[in-house]
């Protein structure tokens, strides 16, 4: 029974983390049509801010939301400085890749100067461990598995049931028409980046609570988020969320049967194969703006 429990728990946990990492990236892509390559660095910065606030003596239930709020502002700032001035350039996607990479490098090295290279750890969401189905798991991991779907559901509700969320999706579908009906496109861009950065910060706090954090901790999650978004299809928010869990389970199964070393190679091989057969992603129907 341990095998099944291992795979089930590992898949759910990794899937939740990947979903948190990828959903912000997908949100920015679907609204603005650019890939934010500083998304991983934002996870790092969110985790470090949370750590800093806790170190200043704030209780975790104040420090974590505060870090998330500050990061939302940072997302807005990034958008205003290195993304919005470029809107309208013909090679926008490529230029934004390089400007967000450069901005990420700036933040990453800034964090190194401010906090130093020594690894730190954010306090976990919940302390302690329990045995579940024959395997030992930490309450922090359980909390991530429970909280992630709640946040994703809230995001889904926001995007499909509120006026502001609908406006965001309208911009994603047709920017010119949105402008014509009077939507403030500039403000909505800023909002998308702000929400994405807040989600990244939350993912960073999740990560920082169960493994040590360093200024370069964002690189690997960014890569994973990119894979998730590609797998899921880059035209919707829900595609990457399903894909995150699929990949979580794929990795859990692979690392159980083929070992940890082969898992990334198998994952990439599956990714390339998926794109050859279904370039628009696994969980999409119809064409997206990415196929332009």
């Amino acid at each position: 029974m341990n095998t099944a429990a291992d795979i089930l728990f590992g898949g759910l946990f990794q899937g939740s983390l990947y979903a948190m990492m990828a959903v912000g990236l997908a949100l920015v892509w679907t609204t603005i049509g650019v890939f934010n390559f500083s998304h991983g660095v934002f996870m790092m910065l969110g985790a470090y801010l949370a750590w800093q606030f806790v170190a200043w003596g704030l209780p975790a239930y104040v420090a974590f939301p505060l870090a998330v709020a500050v990061m939302a502002g940072a997302g807005w700032l990034l958008q205003a400085t290195v993304v919005r001035p470029l809107i309208g350039r013909a090679n926008l996607v490529l230029v934004v890749v390089i400007t967000t990479l450069a901005a990420g490098s700036l933040i990453e090295n800034g964090a190194l100067v401010v906090w130093g290279p020594r690894s730190k750890q954010v306090p976990p969401l919940l302390e302690g461990n329990i045995a579940l189905g024959g395997i030992g798991v930490s309450l922090h991991q359980i909390a991530i598995i429970v909280i992630t779907p709640i946040i994703l559901a809230a995001l889904w509700f926001f995007l499909t049931r509120t006026r502001l969320g609908l406006a965001l999706r309208a911009v994603a579908q047709n920017e010119d028409a949105s402008r014509l009906v009077g939507l403030n496109v500039t403000m909505l861009y800023a909002l998308a980046f702000g929400i994405a950065a807040a989600l990244a910060a939350l993912a960073g706090i999740f990560l920082g609570g169960y493994r040590f954090m360093t200024p370069v901790m964002g690189a690997d999650p960014l890569l994973k988020a990119l894979i998730v978004v590609v797998f899921g299809g880059i035209s919707s928010i829900s595609g990457p969320i399903f894909a995150a869990y699929v990949i979580g389970f794929f990795e859990a199964i692979c690392s159980y049967y083929f070992g940890l070393y082969w898992t990334p190679a198998l994952l990439f091989a599956a990714l390339i194969l998926t794109l050859m057969v279904k370039p628009e992603g696994l969980f999409t129907s119809g064409r997206s703006r990415g196929l332009a």
């Binding site: 090679n91 450069a102 490098s105 990119l226 332009a292």
Partner: protein
């Protein structure tokens, strides 16, 4: 007027088989003279800089310039967002290292083999992206680069895994001592590589094949309707951009005498990509100039520690925001001697 229309207009004038000559295009003789002068100046540099550190910086400039200018061929001219370009460099590094160290191959032959391996890899990665466009090409080629890296890490009994390889056999020139000449021989080998690569790239982009890939980039439907094969030209573009990249990787391994998976990392990719974009895409020369500027700039700030990458990042941001045409576009508008036809894609 798009390049596709230009090609069309030129087709009627040019004799069959000849590369069309556009209006305002720098005549090849003038370009050849300018190139000769430029490389002659570079060839004299070791007599000015006699210490091995300055020569080391210049050698790194040449290696980066080869990789960046070849990337400009696929990215700037071909419009193919090949984010696996650095992997081609890494494949050159590892092909050379494994062939000389484990198979005992002659270093010079292994260097050529590094280039050929990169070409084979480029063809392999082009096949899945033949149907794809834009961001999907970025993601597949990025995935390809990661896949190559993971395979190298997992085969640690041959490749050394994350530890990398050390004591790789280096190049030889007759009985010349490569170690005690303050990098004199390495400098000229690196320069020779840059000369060969640049002549090849400029000849390629001025040829009919080069013009046809620009036509495909600017107006794919029209270019295809004029009988240009997207599949064939994309394969040719990626393969052409791979050879000297792989050779540069092999030379890098021979020069550093070690190989590590860091050559596949994001930081190297970011630096080289900044060179391509800072220099101005679709120029070849822009990438070479930017390689020089960025490398020397970064070396000059070696004392700044963690501030160095931050200053470099700010420099990249400022140039990208203020000068869409990159450094080459900046120079061009400042001097006005270069023809309009060279303007990078907007």
């Amino acid at each position: 007027m798009s390049a596709a229309e230009l090609t069309d207009a030129q087709d009627r004038r040019a004799p069959a088989g000849a590369a069309p000559v556009g209006p305002g295009r720098l005549p090849w003789r003038r370009e050849a003279v300018a190139m000769l002068v430029g490389f002659a100046v570079l060839a004299l540099l070791p007599f000015v800089f006699t210490d091995s550190y300055s020569r080391h910086v210049l050698i790194m400039v040449f290696i980066y310039a080869v990789v960046a200018s070849n990337w400009d061929l696929s990215l700037g001219y071909g419009g193919v967002f090949n984010f696996g370009h650095i992997a081609l460099f890494g494949i050159g590094v590892y092909a050379y290292s494994l062939l000389t160290k484990l198979a005992g191959m002659d270093p010079w032959i292994a260097m050529a083999a590094g280039g050929v391996s990169a070409v084979v890899a480029a063809v392999a990665v082009t096949i899945p992206i033949l149907r794809l466009k834009g961001i999907y090409i970025i993601l597949v080629t990025f995935g390809f680069a990661q896949l190559v890296m993971q395979v190298i890490i997992s085969q640690s009994e041959y490749t050394g895994g994350t530890q990398g390889l050390v004591r790789i056999p280096t190049l030889y020139v007759f009985d010349h001592n490569m170690v005690r000449d303050a990098k004199f021989a390495y400098f000229y080998i690196a320069l020779g590589l840059l000369v060969l690569s640049t002549v090849f790239l400029r000849a390629f982009v001025r040829s009919r094949a080069g013009i046809s890939i620009v036509a495909l980039r600017d107006n794919e439907e029209y270019a295809v309707s004029r009988g240009i094969s997207l599949v064939r030209q994309r394969l040719i573009t990626l393969a052409a951009s791979a050879f000297f990249t792989g050779v540069a990787g092999a030379f890098y391994a021979a020069y550093q005498r070690n190989a590590s998976v860091e050559v596949f990392g994001m930081s190297l990719a970011t630096i080289i990509l900044s060179m391509v974009l800072l220099g101005g895409t679709g120029t070849i020369y822009g990438a070479i100039i930017a390689a020089f500027v960025l490398t020397v700039f970064s070396e000059a700030m070696a004392d700044f520690g963690a501030w160095r990458p931050m200053i470099t990042a700010v420099l990249i941001l400022v140039v990208m925001l203020a000068y869409p045409g990159g450094i080459f576009g900046m120079l061009k508008s400042a001097t006005g001697v270069f023809s309009r036809r060279w303007s990078p894609p907007s």
